[in-house]
Symmetry: C2
Subunit: 226 residues, 2 copies
């Protein structure tokens, strides 16, 4: 038996089909963060030019339009690639596979087809991904039922992310690279967005739905008493 | 090294602190299902005698009152015991520990402190459990915001249960007893309640919230146009 050397943590895990990345760290990070910025900047410009004519003037709602558009791209595009290729990704050399190899330096479960990780990613990619685009569309059309979808997606993202973090803690972070750059920037920081923002959306849409339900009940009671 | 013999699947897993159950299967199942029936029968009687005076006449809403009360007891009481004792439960001989040993005959992850399983059970026990009692109380007080909580709990239950089933499939059911009684009755059937009922609640409360949001938006547009 020959051992395949790989850069993931811990070194003892077996990734027999591993092929080294064909991209340097910068060749991965620059295109990725450029794409993220592009969506945000172009989106903001299109909204302020009224090329994308959002009926709302609320900064929060405009931000949510960008957020769910971004989630749609990341969930379906980036996580979708992993969810579809998780078994073979360590042996691939496409840009997307190398992007995941770069991320997996912080969490090797992405290279070992860890069941919890790939199932959570499948639900995120094929569930929350398309629903995120739908929600962005509902914000665009000023459809009030968007709050139900915002609440649904956000709870799904939050629950998935909480389990993602806590399974790591439970396993004493054995599959995490202890180097601060990988641990704090990739693992902690990049995932923290899906703790903080979904929590805010849950509170905001939860309140909106609660107040709508109170109004509906009052109207029904009024009708009955007539 | 001495091997501790245990009845769980696969026999090769190590549960060094295992102590055999002090209760027969019937001594576990009879009290458990009696307690479940008691909650349902006594609850139904109290509702129809108006000792618990639900303002609704809807069969569905009355059923939800019983469902969330039952979820409150099972999540906090039964799953709460596991969530609190998962590390030592295989070595305990209390009724609750033996109940979990009986269930674990179908899924040994409950005896091996599997991280996904105990984290999901912790979220269920300490999150969805108390919220289930709160929701039952909100149904009792006819508080319309109960739909937000029903939706939240049901999505949490559904996501947890989907991951519970699919992680098993992903691991080829290696920790599941293949005997039909354990596999179909304990593992498939007993957990299926938390797939079917939460799905129905999500649709029903989702629709209710959507229609309330539409009403609220119409009222706001009316006000603006005055």
């Amino acid at each position: 038996m020959t051992t395949v050397h790989h850069p993931f943590t811990p070194p003892s895990i077996s990734i027999p089909h591993y092929v080294p990345s064909q991209h340097t760290m910068l060749e991965i990070l620059v295109p990725f963060f450029t794409a993220v910025l592009l969506v945000l900047v172009v989106g903001t410009m299109l909204i302020s030019n009224k090329m994308i004519n959002l009926t709302t003037s609320s900064f929060w709602t405009k931000s949510l339009f960008l957020w769910f558009t971004m989630c749609g791209f990341i969930h379906t595009g980036v996580e979708g690639y992993f969810a579809y290729h998780y078994k073979t990704i360590a042996g691939q050399t496409t840009f997307m596979a190398d992007l995941w190899k770069e991320y997996a330096l912080s969490d090797s479960r992405y290279m070992t087809a860890d069941p919890f990780v790939y199932l959570m990613e499948n639900i995120t990619a094929f569930g929350w991904g398309p629903l995120s685009f739908l929600t962005a569309y509902f914000i665009y059309t000023n459809n009030p039922t968007r709050h139900v979808f915002q609440f649904l997606i956000s709870l799904g993202q939050l629950y998935g992310d909480v389990l993602y973090y806590t399974t790591t803690l439970a396993e004493d972070g054995g599959h995490c690279n202890p180097h601060p750059y990988y641990f704090y920037f990739y693992f902690v920081f990049m995932n923290a967005f899906w703790i903080v923002i979904p929590s805010l959306v849950l509170i905001s849409s939860g309140k909106e739905m609660a107040s709508a339900l109170v109004i509906k009940q009052k109207m029904e009671q009024k009708k009955k008493s007539l």
